[in-house]
């Protein structure tokens, strides 16, 4: 062999394998309930009819003639086919995405943020939000030793984040979330993290997940403001993963985007703090993870940097066209009065109801189990219970060379056919 282990790119060798991957490879039988990843369809949640109907027509336009689809489905499909080269979603698109869809995204953002306008030039569509995040992180990466780029990352964080940072050669600077306060962000923790790592690397950005993955915490305005102020003071880029913005269900909780809060803080911040926020199809409502499309919006970034984003996305040629169209359908849904509106609204309501009920019920059951404690979630699609494992279990795990919670999850899989994720 030419390429022995010695030749493998050391950055790739350094990628921490998420324990989740290890657990998945252990799946012993078919009837497993797999709730380890954020994949609602996997466990039986149904796709949104409007999305699937329009995509079906776009794939097979013959359906325009010969089929009882609602007229608004047909109209939308025709409109979307017009924006595809050659009238087919089999064509490539521009690297940053179809302009029409970027405009739809910008319009959605503007509406969501009470009129704070978004420009399609600042919107970049990619094959999933993680891909967009990697583009920005790669841009930031550099330096070695003391000058190596660092990014503040929450503890706990989405399981996809550590391997992404490893691959990009960027150091994770961990900041603890406060479990006893529902996993809230704490300014002191952020500051402490910065202080202790300042001498060891060059922290250049803060990564936030809001609503939190895996915690389910939703930040209030004050909390977001504090982070923005810190970013401004320390000259840090804000990287905000807002994929679960559509699933906030906590009482008296609402989702506020970082962009909105930033712009409502006055020009001293709104004109200077650099922010990139991420969203994708892999969210709660449409949950079309398998279609692979997401986007990022860049705020206050140099136009030359935006050009670089585009060049970097060129190496993928373009994001799947079906995914891009699905973004349009997700962010520009049927309106009241449209033929598909009622069904669509009902389906969204059902998802929301199931989510809320599940959250309540699971919380009840978990908090009743000996050794378990779980913070109530306000948004997102996960619960993140804490489990106090007896000494016996911890010893057994140690003997097998496993972390105690991985061992627990393994046994749960083997004995009950339930696959959980582990952070």
């Amino acid at each position: 062999m030419t390429t022995s282990l010695d030749f493998v790119n050391p950055r790739v060798r350094a990628i921490r394998v998420s324990e989740q991957t290890l657990l998945e490879s252990l799946k012993p039988f078919k009837g497993v309930i797999d709730v380890s990843s954020g994949d609602p369809h996997r466990t039986g949640m149904k796709p949104i009819s409007f999305v699937r109907q329009v995509l079906a027509v776009c794939l097979y336009p013959h359906l325009l003639q010969d089929n009882p689809f609602p007229p608004d489905v047909k109209l939308r499909a025709q409109r979307l086919l017009q924006i595809c080269e050659g009238g087919s979603l089999g064509s490539y698109t521009a690297s940053s995405g179809l302009h029409h869809v970027r405009q739809t995204i910008a319009d959605f953002i503007t509406k969501r943020d009470a009129g704070i306008s978004a420009n399609p030039k600042n919107v970049f569509i990619s094959s999933g939000a993680q891909r967009a995040l990697m583009v920005v992180v790669k841009l930031l990466s550099g330096g070695e030793g003391l000058t190596k780029t660092g990014i503040l990352a929450p503890q706990p964080c989405p399981h996809t984040l550590p391997p992404l940072l490893d691959e990009a050669g960027v150091l994770a600077v961990p900041y603890r979330l406060m479990e006893d306060r529902g996993w809230a962000l704490d300014l002191n923790q952020l500051r402490q993290a910065l202080e202790s790592y300042r001498g060891r690397c060059n922290p250049r950005a803060i990564y936030i997940s809001n609503p939190g993955n895996p915690t389910g915490h939703v930040q209030d305005r004050k909390s977001i403001q504090e982070v923005v102020q810190l970013a401004a003071a320390e000259k840090l880029l804000l990287l905000v993963d807002e994929v679960y913005q559509d699933s906030v269900y906590g009482q008296n909780t609402e989702f506020l985007s970082y962009k909105r809060v930033l712009f409502e803080m006055g020009r001293e911040f709104s004109e200077t703090v650099e922010l990139v926020s991420f969203h994708s199809l892999s969210c709660a409502s449409v949950a079309e993870c398998g279609l692979r499309a997401g986007y990022m919006e860049a705020v206050n970034m140099d136009p030359d940097v935006l050009k670089v984003f585009d060049t970097m996305l060129c190496t993928d040629i373009s994001a799947p066209t079906t995914g891009q169209l699905a973004l349009d359908l997700m962010l520009n849904p049927p309106e009241p009065g449209d033929p598909s509106y009622d069904t669509h609204a009902q389906e969204l309501l059902l998802t929301r109801t199931v989510l809320t009920r599940n959250a309540e019920r699971a919380l009840e059951v978990l908090n009743d189990l000996p050794g378990f404690s779980c913070q109530p979630a306000m948004g997102g699609i996960y619960l993140y219970p804490r489990v106090q494992l007896p000494a016996e279990i911890r010893e057994q795990a140690e003997m097998l060379g496993l972390e105690a919670d991985v061992f627990y999850c393994q046994k749960l899989l083997e004995e009950e056919g339930l696959l959980l994720g582990k952070r």
Partner: protein
Amino acid sequence: MSVLQEISSNVKNMKQLEYSDLARRMTQIKEDLRQGVEKPFKEVIDVSWGDPHRGGMKPLTFVRQVLAACVYPQLMNDNKLPVDVRQRAQKLLDGCAGRSVGSYSATQGIPEIVQRVSEFISRRDGGVPSNPENIFLCCGSQWALSRILNVLVNAEAAFTTGVLAPAPCYRTTTLSIEGLGGVVIPYYLSEEQGWELQVEELQQALESAGGACNPIALYVINPGNPTGHVQSRKSMQEVIRFASEKRLFLLADEVYQGCIYGEKEFVSYKRVLAEMGPPLSDTVELASFHSASKGFMGECGLRGGYVELVNLDPAVKKYIYTLFTADSSAPLLGQIALDLMTNPPLPGDPSYFQFDQETQHIKSTVDKNVKKAFEVVNSLQGFSCPAVEGGAFAFPRIHLPAKAIQKAKEVGMQPDTFYCLKLLEEAGVLVSPGSDFGQKEGTFHFRFCILILHDVLEELLRRLTLFHTQFMKDFS
């Protein structure tokens, strides 16, 4: 503070294409036309992409019916779709978690599809075995290529990693190498011999690289992009021997294997390697790439590609697996497209007749295009173009008059970019300038797609002829 002040140096190395300026200009021109501005043409013909649907080619009915049924299974309730379409869709949905194309799949792809892809490969290669464990489905073949490159390119080593790549070469590949912190070592293809790969040039390339980098891989694309050359078995054997001798990882981009014209036949690197027997067949490391974007299907937008690994150290494969896992899975519709590509309808299937008609029609269109393009382009003064043997493009050479070269220099453009810009502005045709692909100093080319409707090709050639005749008058 702007992030730009300190951009990663690897990223800085990724140079924007000449083509980007042309593309921007085209957008402006299209907007002008929409606003009713008078121009010598009513619409722009964009043949700068290897994108058959963009060029007017129609998707295959069977493919789109199955995809639609997978996306909206209720379509299968009324029996309007042929029975083989429904059966295939059901089978494919059985392999999707939650029976939805909206779920993630296993890292390497839906196991049943990976299995069928490996069977296709084995059939294609006259029985040479293919193991599904060595196959990864991914979001387009370029994505897979950049993942494999990521394993090979070590940006932190004392010596930069070098990857041999052809000149001319498809720019996305060289961009990926640069973006990862590697350096491209160009080996010149022989234009006089129809863009043949000559092993002496590989040797020459390595020597020119000298000690400045650590060459670790050799990238070949067969059939060629942009050249349209199809390699002979002999040439492939020489490449394999060279790779073995110089201990290079062989990256074989074979996405155009479904696009063959004329007498040459496509044979895969894997097959040639296997038939060379041990020790080569057991030791040369190879990654070969294919996709659903080209050939009869032309489904570029679905992003369905795969890579097959041969002779890899299992420990190294483990890291490739880790990288692919970090990406979540390939888009499910792209995976389904691969299943359909590798397992089309067979004689006797209800959909076979229409499928066969459609593919024959595409084949005869492209055969006609290849002939016509060759005739017309070679009849123009100052043009020379070898016959296109395979692939999606013609890559003619233009011998530009000295005056034109001078004018280009004055306006700060590459001479072929200058030609292409004028072609766009005066004739409404967008092609890709040869400067973006790497060409021998002092030679000029451009590339255009021939997987397009015959009418579109005729119109394109008509406009080119008119434009070129005038251009040569103006600059003689």
